[in-house]
Each structure stands twice: as C-alpha cells, then as structure tokens.
C-alpha cells in the first residue's frame, strides 16, 4: 500500500499529517510502516521523529561527459530538450544543472562521443524508529542541486527495494503541483491532499485536484487548521464531489506540541480524527 500526502500550498500540514498518520498506522497495523520523506529540497519529518543515528548512502545522477571521439557536429545540442548542451567551434559545453539525465545525447551521438559521469546529488538517510515495525527514509538534495525528480525517484526505489512491496508506505510529498509532486504521487494507491480553509489554501487545492485528476489518482482532502478562514474549501469539495476525509482543528494545544517538535497522535481527540480519516481512505480505495 502506498499513500502520498500532498497539498499544493506549502505550510498546510503535510508533514504533521504524514508523521502522525504513520504513527497511527503503526499502532493499529501489523504491516511494516515506512514513512518516506520525499520533500527532498527541505525534508523535515525527521524533526518529529527524534532519531539520531540514521544510516546514510550517497546518491548520484548521471550526466554526459564528452570524450575525444567528438567532432563537434552539434547533434547533441540540437536534440537536448533541456538546452543543457552547447557546441562551439572549439568545444562542447555541458550544463549539469540543466541536464535531466534523459540520455538522449548519449544515445543519439553519431560518434559515440559521450561517456557517463556521476555527480553527487544528495543522500538517502534511513532508520528504524520507535518500534520494530516503523521505519523512516528521507531523501535530501545536496545544497546547490536543483533537480529534485531523480533524487525523489531514487529515494522511492530504495524504499521499495529495502522494505519490500508489502510494506505500508506513506510518502510525504513536496508542495506545489510540478514534476517533483508528480514523481512523489504517480505510483501511489491514494493521495491525501492536506489543505487549510483559507482563500490561499483553496486556490492551491484546486491546482492539486486538477493535477490528481489528470494523473487519474484516487484522492481525498484533509482540512487542517479547521476553524480559521472561511467555508470556501468545504463548499468547493461539496460542489466537486470530493471527499473530505477529516478535519483537524486549529488549536493552541496542537500548536504548542508542534512548536516543541512533538506529535499530536497521542491526544485522544486527534487519534479519533485519524481513525475516521483512515476509515474514509479505506472506503475510497
């Protein structure tokens, strides 16, 4: 089972939901629970897990490197969809930060003048948290690296290989609706869209809903910080026939726990809300 937690807007409570939902599942399920932080530009689930001794592994992405067979024909620059290669009268210039590692230049070069170079893009951290059946994985891009998608893909593949397809995966996705979010949600069985009941929340929720519909994903909405703002998110979901899985109230108690890096699942009222959310997800699968 794979469930992605996404949002559109940042700061709605994706991480809070992903961490606490994972802990909730760990309490009620026999399966291995694997929380995977795929917000590789700014992974922050670990703050709420208080785990220090992560195992680490360096991650690399492959980019083309020109060799002496090159005759400056310019084919590579012509076919590069991402404008990552220029060919002048004296040399080939490759811009690694524009390269999407699609291998088109390597495959299409008439001279076979490309080798592959590995560049370090980040690290995967993982560990066993809290109980024997709760695991955590995070992908973290190196500072200066801008390509989130290959880092997300490697983190996902690593998690699947390491913990097996029979585990229960919760993916904490990046905010937004662009390529990284698509990579973090495209193979999931269900997507939880966490939003807040404000005009900003609604604006970005609509974009996220549009994206999930294009991907033909099953999804539902969790309204976090319920009680602030207005009714527009609820009205929108009602009109669009989108299921509201549950509402997490805006409360001082939650904010205080959060500010101390503590989890909220032990609050009985919250546990009840997560029970309902879980039941609603099961009914939509």
């Amino acid at each position: 089972m794979k469930i992605s937690v996404a949002s559109g807007k940042g700061g709605t409570g994706k991480t809070t939901f992903a961490v606490n939902f994972s802990l909730f599942l760990n309490n009620i399920k026999k399966n291995k629970i694997v929380l995977v932080d795929l917000d590789v530009e700014e992974p922050d689930c670990h703050i709420f897990l208080k785990h220090k001794n992560f195992k680490r592994k360096k991650c690399f992405r492959e980019i083309p490197k020109v060799n002496e067979k090159c005759n400056l024909c310019g084919k590579c620059s012509e076919i590069c969809e991402f404008n990552a290669i220029a060919v002048t009268n004296t040399k080939v210039i490759i811009f690694p930060d524009l390269c999407h590692s699609c291998y088109a230049c390597i495959e299409m070069c008439p001279q076979k003048a490309f080798d592959i170079e590995n560049i370090e893009m980040g690290e995967i951290h993982w560990g066993n948290i809290a109980s024997n059946n709760f695991y955590f994985v995070e992908g973290k891009l190196k500072i200066g690296e801008v390509m989130a998608v290959p880092m997300i893909r490697q983190t996902k593949n690593f998690s699947a290989e390491r913990f097996g397809e029979n585990s229960y995966f919760i993916f904490d996705s990046p905010p937004g609706t662009s390529c990284p979010v698509i990579e973090a949600t495209k193979e999931s069985d269900f997507v939880v869209l966490v939003t807040e009941p404000t005009p900003f929340g609604l604006h970005d929720l609509k974009l996220a809903v549009e994206t999930m519909r294009k991907l033909r994903k099953k999804f539902g909405v969790v309204i976090n910080k319920a009680g602030i703002g207005d009714q527009s998110v609820s009205e929108y979901c009602y009109n669009e026939k989108i299921s509201i899985l549950g509402e997490i109230p805006y409360s001082r108690e939650i904010a205080e726990l959060y500010s101390q890096g503590k989890n909220i699942i032990n609050l009985p009222s919250i546990n009840k809300i997560f029970e309902k959310i879980h039941k609603n997800i099961l009914s939509l699968l």
Partner: protein, 121 residues
C-alpha cells in the same frame, strides 16, 4: 563583420530587446554583403529553461562575429566567449539603427563578464 542585434520587431526602426535568452528575435546585418534579415527566437521565448544556452547556440550557428544585446547571463556568456563572439551591451529604448550607429562609433560597452545572474545559479 556579421552583427546580430536582439530585437523586439523587424527592420532598423524596431527597438533593441534588452533580453538575450528570451529575446523576441534577432536582426542580422552583414557589413560586407549589406544583407539584412530577421530570425525569430520564439522557440526560446517559451523555453522552460536554458533559453540563454539555446539562443547562444543559435548565434553560433548563424556564424555571427558580434552580438549587440541588453543583458547577458553566465551560461550564454560562457558559450559565446568560448566561440570567440564579441558581445556589446546596448541601452534600453535604442532602435536597431541607433544601436548600430553607436556600435560603429565604438560607444557600446564590450562585455568582459556576464552582467546579470542566471535564473538558477
């Protein structure tokens, strides 16, 4: 000398486009043959990224000796510099004609370094 100007329209009276990578088009003038023509840059106006790289590649493919534009980022500069193409900066609101006159009088500043940051670096 074959000169390229980034331009917002066609002909000598169009204004210089101060953008390089996402310029609307290039006005090309060969001093020897007196041939002038316009090349659209629409493909790069709408590029997702690397517009400067592709525009620089186009300038190279057009066998240009000197380029007159408004701004130049680091990637495009690296490419054009490596190809030995001279780069000159024209101020905003100049027409192509005015920019060419200023170029002939050596009034345009030659670029020794990129003058604006790239969008990703």
């Amino acid at each position: 000398m074959k000169i390229a100007f980034t331009t917002t329209g066609k002909g000598w009276d169009a204004q210089v486009d101060t953008r390089f990578g996402r310029a609307i088009g290039f006005f090309i003038f060969s001093e020897e043959s007196k041939i002038e023509y316009y090349v659209s840059n629409e493909q790069n106006m709408n590029a997702m990224g690397g517009a400067g790289v592709q525009s620089a590649q186009n300038i190279i493919n057009l066998k240009i000796d000197a380029l007159v534009t408004g701004n130049m980022g680091p990637r495009a500069f690296q490419i054009l510099n490596s190809a030995g193409i001279k780069i000159y900066l024209a101020e905003e609101n100049l027409t192509i004609k005015e920019a060419y006159e200023a170029f002939k009088k050596n009034e345009l500043k030659e670029v020794a370094n990129p003058n604006v940051a790239g969008h990703w670096v």
